[in-house]
Structures are given as structure tokens and as C-alpha cells.
């Protein structure tokens, strides 16, 4: 009995220890992720009380539609309190009959409570939590994104909900690639200008062609990523692949759809693909699409300013291969699968081995096969011969 108890205790001890071990190991993988989002949400810690009463929008707007109604702040800024009734009514919140006090929960009576803020930015930061209360999915995505990371670092200029969505004119812009680009332009005007000069930017912003990517197609809308994020650069060819391997889409523009395939078949692409699979967090000095084609300023290879145009290619190579001379850039197959027209020598070498390998091995197997057969026959005749004797 005593022994049994001891055994039981022992096995329990072991299982508890194991459990803790498993939890500990699991926590190694889970905890860092939680910390990131926890930090981001902690910083947006303004917790508004939920509105105890509903006040119709019209009641608030009877005052707040007055033009140029503003509150002078300590910072010297003006906090505009005017809300355009028509614009609000047209906004997604107005359409869904969200009322002012749903967000501005404390402002249910007059006179209003004091605003404990010094500058306009503080209002946006405080009210970010309000958005997140009703939009938890976007909150989680946002917490993973680059803007939230910047906020955690203390950069108050980073984009908050209202910076992109506006406060009182929130619209569904998912289907408007132009508006998305123009939204990002508010803070990334420099990049927007460069993008506008690219083959994608011209197509979208000048020709209203929605086949091309806008900012969020590559960088994500809420969980936005960029070159500073681990794995982003390694992953980036797959972003390009998502359109450039689409044969139907590419055939519309006479662009070949095998560019990703041929990239991976080449030394650079092979390396990047291996890195992406085996060690996605490590950096590699091998180029991805953007290293040669440009980032926001991607141009058609026929464009004379294109970094991958034949005349400019050597210079592009020299960024990583400073010693390279004129013939070096010809070592790049130009996204072509070798054939008699493009890179015929490579094609012929492959063809040579295509014949030689099976030919040689066939010859060798002929000797091996017949040898095995001979031995089998000899052994059988030996055996039967032995029996006869």
C-alpha cells in the first residue's frame, strides 16, 4: 500500500514536472508574441466608460456643426470640434447609425467634462482605444504591424486608426486602391511620389488600372510589414509571385508569367528560397526581386531608366558585385528558360547531359544486368550440376 502510494506520488510528480516542462517550452514560442500585442494595447490604455445613455446625433450636431468651432489647446493647436453632418451621415458609421456618444462616451451632458489633453495628438491616441473596442480583429492585426511597433518605441507620429480612416468620415476603402495609396501618402509622401513614377503607380494613379498593387497589397493594411521586419525581404518574392505568376493576368500585359520560376531556378533565387524555408529570420546577401527591379520605383524593363534594362544592368549588378565588368551581367539568364533562342549554350549543355547521362548509365546497366544474369545462371547450373553428381 505504502509503496503504491509512493509510486503514485512519483508518477504524479513526473507528470507534473513534464507538464511544467511542456508549458515552459511552449511559452518560449508563445510569450514573445503576446508581449508585442500586450505592449501595444497597454499603451492605448484609455478605457472609456460605456455610454449609459444614447443621445441622438442631431442633438450633438445642433452645436457641433458650427463651422470653425474649436477648442484652443495648451500646445497652441486648435482642436476642431466641428463635424460636417452630411459627411458623417455618409460615413460608414453614420450609415450604421452609430451615434456620437458611442465613441465619445463621456460627453452625454452639457456642460461637457474637461478634456485632459494638451495637444491634438493626445486626442487621437486616446480615441484609438475606442476604435479597438469595436474592432478587435483589426486591433490584433494592428498590434503586429509596423505602426504599432513604432508606437511602442515611443514614436507618436506613427499612424493610428483615425490617421488613415479619418474620425468622422470613415469609409470602406478596401476596394479603392487609389484611396489607399492616397491615404498612405499623407505620411509617406516621398514614397508616394516614387511609386507614382513606377510602372505600377502610373497604371493605378493615372490610368485607374486596378490590376496593379497599391501600398497595402504588398505591405498589408493593418499588420503592415516592411523591410525592417525579420523575414520580410526573404518573403517578398512571394508577394511579387502572387501576381507575376498569374498567367491570365500577365498575358494581359505581355509580361511573362515564369519570372518567379526562373528566378528560383537561378543561383540567387535558389539561395533565397532555401533561406526562406530553412531560416526565415536570417538575412541573406542574395538579391530578391526588389534588389534588381527597384522597390517603389519598379519600371518596365523597356523603360530607359529601368535598373534591369540591358544598358543599366551592369550597374545594378555592381551594387553587390563591385568588381563586375561588362560581360558579367550576361551571366544572368534574364528570366529565360534556356532554349535555342535564349542562352543556347546552356540549353545545349543540358541537352548533352540529357543524352549522356541515360546513355552512360544505360551502358553500365547493360554490363551490370547481364553480369547479374550470368551469375544467376551459373549458380543454378552449379546447384543442379552438384545434385547430378
Amino acid at each position: 500500500m505504502k509503496i503504491k502510494l509512493k509510486q503514485m506520488l512519483h508518477s504524479k510528480l513526473i507528470s507534473i514536472t513534464f507538464l511544467f516542462l511542456i508549458i515552459f517550452i511552449a511559452s518560449l514560442f508563445v510569450v514573445p508574441k503576446i508581449i508585442v500585442s500586450a505592449e501595444a494595447s497597454e499603451l492605448f490604455s484609455y478605457a472609456p466608460s460605456t455610454a449609459s445613455e444614447t443621445i441622438p446625433v442631431e442633438e450633438c450636431l445642433s452645436c457641433h456643426q458650427v463651422p470653425e468651432m474649436f477648442l484652443p489647446l495648451e500646445s497652441g493647436e486648435r482642436l476642431y470640434l466641428t463635424v460636417d453632418p452630411d459627411a458623417f451621415a455618409a460615413s460608414i458609421h453614420g450609415q450604421q447609425e452609430v451615434v456620437c456618444v458611442d465613441c465619445h462616451t463621456e460627453f452625454t451632458g452639457y456642460p461637457h467634462p474637461e478634456l485632459a489633453i494638451e495637444n491634438r495628438r493626445e486626442v487621437s491616441i486616446q480615441l484609438t482605444q475606442v476604435c479597438m473596442n469595436c474592432h478587435p480583429e483589426e486591433k490584433d492585426l494592428y498590434a503586429k504591424g509596423r505602426h504599432a511597433q513604432e508606437f511602442v518605441k515611443g514614436n507618436l507620429n506613427t499612424a493610428l486608426c483615425v490617421d488613415c480612416h479619418t474620425s468622422h468620415q470613415v469609409k470602406d476603402i478596401r476596394n479603392s486602391k487609389v484611396e489607399i495609396a492616397e491615404t498612405c501618402q499623407k505620411c509617406h509622401a516621398g514614397i508616394y511620389e516614387i511609386y507614382h513614377s513606377s510602372v505600377h503607380g502610373v497604371a493605378l494613379l493615372d490610368d485607374l488600372n486596378f490590376d496593379v498593387p497599391t501600398c497595402s497589397d504588398c505591405h498589408e493594411a493593418h499588420a503592415n510589414t516592411g523591410p525592417g521586419d525579420p523575414g520580410f525581404v526573404l518573403f517578398s518574392p512571394k508577394i511579387c509571385e502572387s501576381c507575376h505568376a498569374d498567367e491570365i493576368l500577365m498575358s494581359k500585359y505581355g509580361v511573362r508569367a515564369d519570372v518567379f520560376e526562373t528566378y528560383v531556378a537561378d543561383f540567387h533565387g535558389t539561395t533565397v528560397a532555401i533561406f526562406e524555408k530553412v531560416s526565415p529570420d536570417q538575412e541573406t546577401n542574395k538579391p530578391v526581386c526588389i534588389d534588381c527591379h527597384g522597390v517603389h520605383d519598379i519600371r518596365s524593363p523597356d523603360d530607359e531608366n529601368s535598373s534591369v534594362m540591358k544598358e543599366n544592368l551592369l550597374e545594378t549588378c555592381q551594387r553587390c558585385h563591385p568588381e563586375a565588368t561588362s560581360d558579367f551581367s550576361d551571366s544572368w539568364l534574364g528570366h529565360y528558360t534556356p532554349d535555342l533562342e535564349h542562352n543556347p549554350l546552356v540549353y545545349l549543355v543540358n541537352l548533352f547531359y540529357y543524352v549522356i547521362i541515360p546513355g552512360t548509365m544505360g551502358g553500365l546497366f547493360l554490363f551490370i544486368g547481364t553480369d547479374v544474369w550470368r551469375r544467376y545462371k551459373d549458380k543454378r547450373s552449379d546447384d543442379s550440376g552438384g545434385e547430378e553428381e
Binding site: 442633438e59 452645436c63 458650427v66 463651422p67 470653425e68 466641428t82 463635424v83 459627411a87 456642460p111 507620429n157 483615425v162 490617421d163 479619418t166 474620425s167 468620415q169 505620411c187 509617406h188 509622401a189 516621398g190 514614397i191 523591410p227 537561378d266 535558389t270 539561395t271 528560397a273 532555401i274 533561406f275 530553412v278 536570417q282 538575412e283 541573406t284 546577401n285 526588389i290 534588389d291 551594387r319 568588381e323 565588368t325 560581360d327 558579367f328 550576361d330 551571366s331 544572368w332 539568364l333 549554350l345 546552356v346 549543355v349 543540358n350 547531359y353 549522356i356 547521362i357 552512360t360 548509365m361 553500365l364 554490363f367 551490370i368 547481364t370 553480369d371 544474369w373 550470368r374 551469375r375
Partner: protein, 386 residues
Amino acid sequence: MSQQEKFLRFPLYRRIEHWTMVISFVTLAVTGLVQRYSGNPVSELVFTLLGGIESVRIIHRIASIVLMLVTIFHFGELFYGWYVKRGPLSMLPGKEDLVAAWKQLRYNLGFERAAPKQGFYTFEEKFEYWALIWGTIIMGISGFFLWNPITAAKYLPGEWIPVAKAAHGNEAVLAVLAVAFWHFYHVFIKHFNTSMYFGTMTREEMEHYHPLVLEEEPYILPSPKDPAFKRRKKTFTITYGVAAVIMLAAVFGFVRVEETAVESPPEIAEIADIEAYSPAIPTPSPSAIPLLQAPSIGTSWEDGFGDLFAERCGECHKSEGGFANLDLTNYQGALKGGNSGPAIHPGASGISLIIIWTYDGEHPGKFGADELAEIRQWIDAGAPEK
């Protein structure tokens, strides 16, 4: 049978040479093939085990240096055996090998009564050896192109680098297949040949596989005291010494001739030049742009002002029980006013309470500056109802 006569086949240095090459070859094959078939899950596993593609490439290159050194050693050994020891060049292929191969095939198929009699090296072994020589030349040259593409492109068209890559990968497959089937079949399966482990073969083995050796005049090693031998040895030492230095320098050059790519390339020019955060000027406000310019209200109570007051003021100052007994929802109510007096004095905006109350102070409802100016104009013009 226990004390069988032993025939020396591979002296110790030959065995060391062989096994060094085995290590190098296997390493090259593994680290090379995983690169050729990089998408394969087995390759992925190898990459993970060996610490990633970059370390796999370093291991591949180290193994290739070992193979280069073995090759240099082999040159010296051949030269010594032929020139100093005056030994037979038993590895040279000849017509008899073709005959032997043909006979072997016929024998295997039952057209020949006996297998061909072969010498110190059989045609199978010679094939293996010359395939290795061919392979090493191809791999060496193409390997140089891949290791030093910039140098190669200085002397040859750039296309030769992908050509070298194609040849390198294909030749590797051929070499590995040849070793895996041809070599392994002959040394492991057909007959477990231990001479590469212990160096010797028994008489029985010799009779079976290399019978011609037993029939030939045995080769006699020159006496070490022979002055001609001594002289040749001296010549060898000097000649091979110089050649070895040159070849080692070539290996060094092979390894160090160029820095193909920089370890960490400079940032992409566009990214380096641009400030990610570059707000548009003027910086847009997150809030909707405030209504800086209100549309013109109108000309009379019925044409605009009535609606304006009803909308802005009517929430509190309504018809029934309006705040401060003021009703601003109709013209008469506005003229009559509330507790403090008339809200509108036609012709006198200065004493109209609607202006006074909203101009400044605590009154919650306010008008914009433009609106206020328009209201004053209207009142001063007699506050027309129509």
C-alpha cells in the same frame, strides 16, 4: 589455405589517397546535390542539419579544396611511379580493354565460354578511373567559373557561367550515379573487394580477377642504391617540388582570386535616399477637414435663417417649453424673445440677444464667424421674414 599468398595491390599511401577522396567526394556530392535539388524535403533536412545554405556552400568549397590537393598528390604519385620507379602505366586504356569489355558482355550473355582474362586493372576499373578524371576536369573548370564568375567573365562570354552551372550540376549527377551503381556494384556486390582496406589480394582473387598479372613478368622495383634511381629521384624532387608549388599557388588563386559579392551590399538606393516618414504638407488632420467656409445662409427668415435657427437652436429653444421661454423655431417667437428679451431686433444687430449670447461666453451653441457676420447683416437689413 590459412597462409595464403598475398599480392600487394594498394600500398598505404594509395589507400589514404582513396579514402581522403571518398570523404571529399561524398561531402561534395551531399552538399552539391542538395543545392541542385533544393526544393526536396531531404535537402531541406540537410540544410537544417548543416546550419543553412551558406555553411553548406562553405563545406562544399572546403571539400573541393581537399579534392584539389588529392589531385596534386596524385600527379606527383603518377610522375614518381612512371619516371623514378619506372613502373608500368597499368591504368592506360588500350585496345585490349575494348576487347575485354566486348568479351565480358558476350560471356555474360552466354556467347563466350570464359570471361576475358584481365591485367592489373580491369576494363571496369579503368572506366571508373577515367570517368573520375573526366569528371574532375569538368567539375574543376566549371567549379572555377562558379566560384569566380567575375574573373571568368573577363575572359569568356558571361553566358559561360550558367553554362558552367549546368555542366557542374549534370556532371555531378552522372558522377554520383556512376559511383553508386558501377563502382558499388563491383566492389560491394559482385565481389566484396577488401583490397582498398587491407591493401592486398589473395592468389585466388588474383587468379579470378587479374589473371594476366600472374602470367606477366613481375615488375621489379629498382634498388634504392642504384645511382640512376638516385639521380631520377633527385630530378623528381626538384621538378615535382616546383610543379607542386605552382599547383598549390593555383589552388590558392582558385580560392582567392576575387571577391565575387560583398558580404552585406549597400542599401537599395531608393530606400537609402528616402525618408519613410515624410508627411504631405500641409499635414492633413485626422479629423475631417472642418467646415472653414459655410455656404451662404440666405436672404430672409423663410429663405435660410429660419431653418438655420431651427436646426441649431431649436433643440433647446423649441415651441413647447423652450429653454428660457425662448422659441426660435418661428419668426414671431424670435421677435418676441424669451426671459431676457427679444432675440432679434430688426435693424439692430448690436442689441439682438441672438448675437450677444452666441458671440462669446458660456452659451453652448455658437455660430461660426462667417455665419455670425451674415446674421448681423440680415438683422441690420431689418431681418426680413420673406
